[in-house]
Symmetry: none
Subunit: 205 residues, 4 copies
DNA sequence: CATGAATGAGTCTTCATTCAT
DNA sequence: GATGAATGAAGACTCATTCAT
């Protein structure tokens, strides 16, 4: 499965072995059945280990989800901020690169992106707050670019305040329908959404 | 709670008494804990009836979800198509009204809108297909307006094909963050999103 | 089993049917294996019902223990205070009757008496406090008799303060070794311990 | 904690290092949660070693309990018989010293005393028999003194047969309520219980 | 319509113990 | 001696659902 292997990439960058296998299996299971629909047995079986051994690595099912979401949000934040920093000063350029980085992440780690938006509601307490913080940091990048662009007269939308949320929404929604090997290439998808974003902001040349 | 009472409105339009109470309780429960996180006991307790009596009205938990989603999607489809029909011929006007109708639905039935997008994945078989059909019909309205607008040169986006999905995405995502009594009024929210939609389509006067 | 039927008497005084069967099974299981050593499955099996049905009657294993101990302590308190009230004014007579009532309870409900002293440590919070209160009330009866007897010069022990605890200790310890049908009759056992108690208090004629 | 350090003394008299640490941790854990309520993980953690290393010292959890109880009963038997031997010929003196030795043990090793009476029921087979033997030996010392005293007309109780059990009961019950630093000193407690014992036996001068 | 009692399969998690290193 | 990884069985408890009344 494509999403599996992409996720594997996300996770095995930081570790191999049983722990990585468990994280990958959890990602697949949560992606397929949802956090509450997937059982710890599903996860253990998917990881090729025993149910009890899973608890040598993660103290609870929630910790599993938390670590998954933390990794996904960290990776997304890293990619997006790196892309923006590599872009020049022009807010439109910066926005374009931000969108392309975001879309790239969603395509590369589709299941992780899907789980990140749909299962975060099942985290509570500190776990949740930590992840929400990371997620908000990513959205803040878009917000800052928009503020700059508006200040410079580059973006002329009368509603700059809700724009970041909508742009991010559009990008992450890709995770809900995208199928690898479909009509649109990764690159085309990124270009398309960058264009939507700039249009939505009413960018003027 | 606002979402509760709004949801109640959605449901009691078509029924009073225990069945409506069950549907409302199910909506509240699924909205708060997700389909798999909410138990039939939660639902029965919320409806103020016995667990077993619930099965006199719905043969299974899935049927409950299906009926909920059917009603929500029907209402959304009705509102949207009515709004479009009431609008004139101009694709921009039609799009504006469609978006406003959609946003209005999300605000009026926030929990139902939220459950409709996040829990449909837990329906299977015929139930699912029926609901997906209704959902697609709604999106098709937007697609048709876009096609008209592009044909008439009113919308100049180079990517008309993905636009409907993104506009609908933006509108339904409101259900994930909107809080009644917040900064934006129902009307302002509708205006704003209508503007985003037209901008995204690169509408020209 | 003798302890079983005695316990049954304690419980069926207040109820018949599944709930009583569960309480009796719990008493037998906790008596035989201890609270932590007995499983809820043991209890359900002993009651001839399913594990899950047990939870229709008691919300948790702890509640089961709490109800058991409450009933035992209530019965013990009732018997003891009734016996004391029926006795005359003489502190020695009152003490004698109190001890005989206590011993009678231990013999009649040996398992309940055993569980009451050995498993109360596994109750926590409010459950525990409620039971401790009942237990202390019983001991207080002995304490008051001792205080009267000392005031009247009937009991001459130089250590009246610890005496109640020790007398109660002796009585309840019977539950740890008594076997029905043994050398001592119920009545002889009661006489014997009454004599021990009066001797310990250094009663003078 | 006093009981901890006292227990430590009991154990480290015969061993230092990891094995003693494990025994001490087991004593603390069994004392706090009971044999079935404490896990081998609790014990290992309390001893500051790994769970698997515990099995290098004790082949099973039961062996741990058995060794604990053996040591406790041995120490109690040694103290008691030594005290009796050091006492003169008078049965009353001998009884007084026996009780004082017993009470002294309970105070010095409160947790061990508590575990010895409350957890022996979780031992089976040979383990149990060995410990029961030691325990009975201790009680037999009291029984013999009583027999002597009765023969000499020093003890006039009409029920000499159950007296040893009750005296021992009273002494060991101290472990269930005593708190170091409380109202009664170790010495006062011993005197008090010696007096109770002699009174119970109806000792005459 | 409505209910209380019942159940078998399943939930997450912990258990005592083993084994390769 | 010491450890981290592993496991099968069992722990308490909840699930969606059924049935007799």
């Amino acid at each position: 499965m494509n999403s599996r292997s992409a996720a594997a990439a996300l996770i095995s960058e930081t570790g191999r072995g049983t722990k990585a296998a468990i994280l990958n299996a959890a990602l697949a299971a949560f992606g397929e059945k949802g956090f509450n629909g997937a059982s710890t047995r599903d996860v253990a079986a998917g990881a090729g280990t025993s149910l009890s051994n899973l608890y040598n690595y993660f103290p609870s099912k929630s910790h599993l989800l938390a670590e998954l979401l933390q990794r996904a949000n960290d990776e997304l934040l890293n990619r997006t901020s790196a892309a923006v920093q590599a872009a020049g000063d022009d807010p439109a350029d910066r926005m374009r690169e931000a969108v392309k980085a975001y879309v790239g992440f969603v395509v590369d780690h589709q299941t992780a992106a899907l789980v990140a938006i749909s299962e975060i509601r099942y985290l509570h307490g500190e776990h949740r707050e930590r992840i929400v913080r990371a997620r908000d940091s990513t959205q803040a990048i878009f917000g800052e670019i928009i503020a700059e662009g508006v200040a410079q007269g580059r973006f002329t939308t009368p509603y700059p305040d809700g724009a970041a949320r909508n742009i991010v929404s559009m990008c992450s929604a890709i995770s809900t329908w995208y199928r690898a090997g479909g009509r649109l290439s990764r690159k085309a998808l990124a270009e398309q959404h960058a264009r939507y974003a700039l249009a939505l902001l009413e960018t003027r040349d």
